[in-house]
Amino acid sequence: MTDHKGVLVYGEASEGRLAPVTLELLGIGRKLADARGEECSVVLIDRNAAACGEEAIAYGADRVYVIQDAPAEYFEAASFTTILQKLCTETVKPAIVLIGQTITGRDLAPRLAFRLKAGLVTDCVGLDLDPETKGLIARKPVSGGNVLGTYCLKEGGPQIATIRRRAMEPLEGDESRQGEIVDTAAGVDPSEVKARRIERVLEESEGPSIENAEIVVAGGRGIDTSEAFEEYITNGLASVLGAGVGGTRGAVDAGLISEQHQVGLTGKIVGPNLYIAVGLSGAIQHMAGCSGSRNIVAINVDENAQIFKFARFGIVGDYRKVIPPLIKKLKEILST
């Protein structure tokens, strides 16, 4: 299978826009393809995918495979696996396949890898090429992020990696970039869909979505009560800053905040410009969800708390004494 060339990105889109993780994958996919002197393609499997083709080209794709006739209207892992399998063995024959470490990506990538008998490294935070073989070298956190592992993958077929959100930088969008949009048939028999969706329940979340928020204020078990969490975090600091609200697993377990706000390895992954961490120790599992933040501010009574190792600014002190004057000053600053 040495005729495998180039990078194929599995694209995700919603409401006519590419998902942020897809832009990030195009960024790294473009770099890897350039280093190999090959093309970077993206596949979009979506009834409305055509709308995203130009965007994908602006962000680095040479070729956009648009598939609008998948048997299910929504993401359906078994049939999507077959679609990708065909692209990998017939149409595109990529050397490298990049998939987001999203819920859909985590469902899709292992199926594809086993189907293709290909190597897969999941949840990567760094990708390089072996200088000699030009094969993938993938870096991923293991043991809940306490250790970083570096892997290479067996040669002779596509090498597959799923990439953690916010781990890669997208390119600047450039509308003058040239590329080709290719309408492609799914070529999947509807009988491949064995798992039938009978219900979808979407949860309403209060406030801005934390995954896309520019500012996130998060609290941990250092906040004593759910009333205090509401007063100081949700209706306090977060409200003044128009920020999303996050919490640690400990805060969720203690009933301080609902599960949909959980940030970390088993929760949401955020990467805001500003992450204000209040009364949280900075456990590695939590940091896995927010270490991509550009600026972390920590407020904690314990000067030895690990969160200060990640923070750019820190105040050692009781949040009840720090937050009210901070809110007052922020209001003043933000009104000018």
């Binding site: 469902d107 798992a195 600053i333």
Partner: protein
């Protein structure tokens, strides 16, 4: 319903970061000896899900583990699943398994599932807490050609099918899958593993757990161990913290708070 739950042993997941070390000669993560090995949390949720289904529909639950840790510890944990209510436990152990990756583990487990025979449902944890790969459950499904669902937090038995509640980005889907199928289980408060009752513990202690080797499984030797692996671990490292924190200090905390707000504005962060 004939159910299989696959379980793996991992170092206690809430072990503090400072306890971790790496051995790059052996390509191993090192931990102090007093860090216990436990069943990986999502796998334990899978065992609990299997027991709940067994309670509702009758049938059998078999737990299977592939030895990647000292065998006495795995036997102890497999006996724990018997004490919780599993009917049978099987250990897969062979020197040929050493050095394998997710690809190899899935192939050996798939062979074991075929050897058990007439299986309706395979439950695996979403991912194990040591290598965090999340490949084995879906790998088994692909190898055996079975339908699968991931991120499952609730399972309802039906006529020749199961209904699985699966987490999606902003809520959940309910999927109906025909049996046999594979489900990978995430955490949910309803899947908190039950405490094994004392009589169960006493009974489980006396049980002898069958050990299956690679040849018992009729395993394809090109699919197991280091020679079967599709991924090669090159290096392990402890993460380095980059940031240098600027502590904002003042006589009183409210002054420090004001200074923080000013710093954030000066740096154009707000």
């Amino acid at each position: 319903m004939n159910i299989i739950a696959c379980v793996k042993q991992v170092p206690y997941p809430d072990t503090p970061a400072s306890a971790y070390g790496v051995d790059n000669e052996e390509k191993q993560i090192t931990l102090p000896e007093d860090v216990p090995l436990v069943i990986s949390p999502f796998d334990e949720n899978g065992v609990e899900a299997g027991l709940q289904l067994k309670d509702q529909t009758g049938g059998r639950l078999t737990t299977i583990s592939l030895a990647t840790r000292p065998v006495d510890v795995i036997l102890r944990d497999l006996k724990q699943t018997l004490a919780m209510g599993a009917d049978e436990a099987i250990l897969l152990d062979d020197p040929a398994f050493v050095g394998g990756d997710s690809w190899c583990t899935a192939h050996s487990l798939a062979k074991a599932i075929q050897k058990v025979g007439d299986v309706d449902l395979v439950l695996c944890g979403l991912q194990a807490a040591d290598w965090d790969a999340g490949q084995v459950g879906l790998g088994i499904a692909e190898i055996l050609g079975l339908p699968a669902a991931t991120f499952v937090t609730k399972i309802e038995p039906g006529e020749g099918c199961v209904r699985a509640r699966c987490i999606i980005e902003n809520g959940y889907d309910v999927l109906e899958l025909p049996l046999p199928c594979v489900l990978t289980v995430a955490s949910d408060e309803t899947l908190t593993p039950r405490i094994a009752p004392l009589p169960g513990i006493i009974k489980a202690k006396k049980r002898k757990i069958p050990v299956w080797s690679a040849s018992d499984l009729d395993a394809d030797m090109t699919m197991v161990g280091a020679s079967g692996a599709k991924t090669i671990l090159k290096e392990l490292a402890l993460p380095q913290f980059e940031g240098v924190c600027e502590f904002i200090t003042a006589e009183e905390l409210d002054q420090a708070a004001v200074m923080l707000a000013e710093r954030l504005r000066a740096e154009k962060i707000i």
